[in-house]
Amino acid sequence: MKATSNVMRRELSGYFSTPVAWVFIVIFLVMAGVFTFYIGNFYERGSSDLDPFFQFHPWMYLFLVPAIAMRLWAEERRSGTIELLLTLPLTTWQAVLGKFLAAWLFIGLALALTFPVWITVNYLGNPDNGVIAAGYIGSWLMAGGFLAIGSCMSALTRNQVVAFILSVVVCFAFLLSGLPMITDLFSGWAPQSLIDTIADFSFLAHFSTISRGVIDLRDLVYFTLVIGFWLLANVIVLELRKAN
């Protein structure tokens, strides 16, 4: 626990001692604003909820979360600090978890800084704030899923660009796994139950139920399992390929 929080604190301070944090937060907020107010037609809809805000989150995360995740391990490999970190008396799990939590908290901070949108909708109408809170929780959980994938991909390579591209591709597959684009690959030869299972893996489906205000235990378990699975994969990748 101590070791994990120590790694986490080091990572977080690392974000803020470089321009990475500020650039990310500004771009995140600008994009969230553009999507909500221009593309999402926030005002024109005349409905007091944050649907147009949340509905674009999966697509923002698709690129922004891999951008945060790509450096997590690739940078450690490139600079050689991985050798320093993993010879300190802490387990690979603690290191992986500490880094993941730091990045997740950081994304949480960026997400929290979108609060003016929430204030705006409360100023203009009477939204169901419970639904909005659920939306925020669902969005953060989904970001965690993307982040765990990105962290694992980052551990595969010392090249951040490669890590970024791999993450985007895998995240994209997870995002869309419910849509025909992915299921068509399997229909015709795979049993229906498998196709249903794959469709069930879709981030979009699970996120949309939460963002409608329905906090279903299954969705929470789903995101927790996704995060757990990819972090486990991350640990295994590191154990197998510590050196380059």
Partner: protein, 310 residues
């Protein structure tokens, strides 16, 4: 704690077909400063990476202070300090923050982490730069930061991969003094390809090539393996004449003339210096330089590592 030891038993590391370390076995005890010598790619760093728990061995095992490096990796790592090759550090972090992070990872918390970090800063003469980001420091300072994080918790076992690589002569001297100061009750393993360093620092040297242990000896023992050991070199006028006269000596096995220097090699067990000074005096040769050779480490190194390959 006189039982302090490192024991490697048939330690091996394979990368696919490539055998980086091949059944290395050795024991080291407290007070020993062991130098790993060997050409680049000999397996020195890989051995260190296995001892420090970074890489799992393909076969064999090692015990550090009684802890198996695989089965009980965390306990083994706790009693070790490690400077990886190139002294990697988080470049964006200030020196003090980095050392505090390492201290906390080593189990110090709150104030004691700050105290340990400050002590390490003092010890490595980093007090002029504690708030500077590490990436802005010069190579010598970076190396000292790496050493500071390795010695911060006063480990019983110190493993230093090329601790003086890339330092200027003054900095090398400082680092050597530091290592020597700490060496009495610890095990220190350093890898280097600077041969003079072995003589200056170590009381034991192992030559490794192609992942195998070729020689395990004291630095003096290594030097004694040189064909130059106990030879006499002189610079003299008319060296050809002198050479033929000296080769008549019963104690001389061979005389070599190279770049104006005449080197006389002794027969087994023979003492040359006295005989040659006598000869110089008798014949009134114009000698401008005369010295007894201790032996040449670089020559031993070449002989051991290349002789083994051919």
């Amino acid at each position: 704690m006189s039982d302090l030891s490192i024991e490697a038993r048939s330690l091996s590391k394979h990368y696919g077909q490539l055998i980086a370390v091949d059944q290395l076995s050795f024991e080291v005890g407290a007070g020993e400063v062991l130098g790993f010598l060997g050409p680049n790619g000999a397996g020195k760093s890989t051995t260190m990476k296995m001892l420090t728990g970074f890489l799992p061995p393909t076969a064999g095992s090692a015990l550090v202070n009684g802890h198996d490096i695989v089965e009980n990796s965390l306990a083994a790592r706790r009693c070790m300090g490690y400077l990886p090759e190139g002294a990697p550090a988080y470049g964006e972090m200030p020196v003090r923050a980095f050392l505090e992070f390492v201290a906390r990872s080593r189990g110090f918390d709150g104030k004691s982490a700050v105290r340990e970090a400050d002590a390490a800063i003092d010890r490595l003469n980093l007090s002029s730069v504690p708030e500077q980001p590490i990436e802005t420091l010069s190579k010598g300072f970076k190396r000292r930061v790496g050493l500071a994080q390795a010695i911060l918790h006063d480990p019983r076992v110190l493993i230093l991969d090329e601790p003086t690589d890339g330092l200027d002569p003054n900095q090398k001297h400082e680092v050597r003094d530091l290592i020597r100061d700490m060496s009495s009750d610890k095990i220190i393993i350093i890898s280097t390809h600077i041969l003079e360093e072995v003589h200056a620092l170590c009381n034991r040297a192992m030559i490794i090539a192609d992942g195998r242990l070729l020689v395990d000896d004291t630095p003096d023992g290594l030097i004694a393996r040189s064909r130059y050991h106990e030879a006499v070199t002189l610079v003299v006028e008319h060296p050809e004449q002198v050479a033929s006269a000296l080769s008549e000596l019963p104690q001389a096995r061979k005389v070599e003339l190279r770049e104006g220097e005449l080197t006389v090699f002794p027969r087994e067990g023979a003492k040359l210096l006295e005989v040659i000074t006598d000869a110089v005096r008798e014949n009134a040769w114009a000698v401008s330089e005369l010295r007894l050779e201790a032996g040449r480490l670089d020559e031993v190194f070449r002989q051991v590592t290349q002789g083994e390959m051919s």
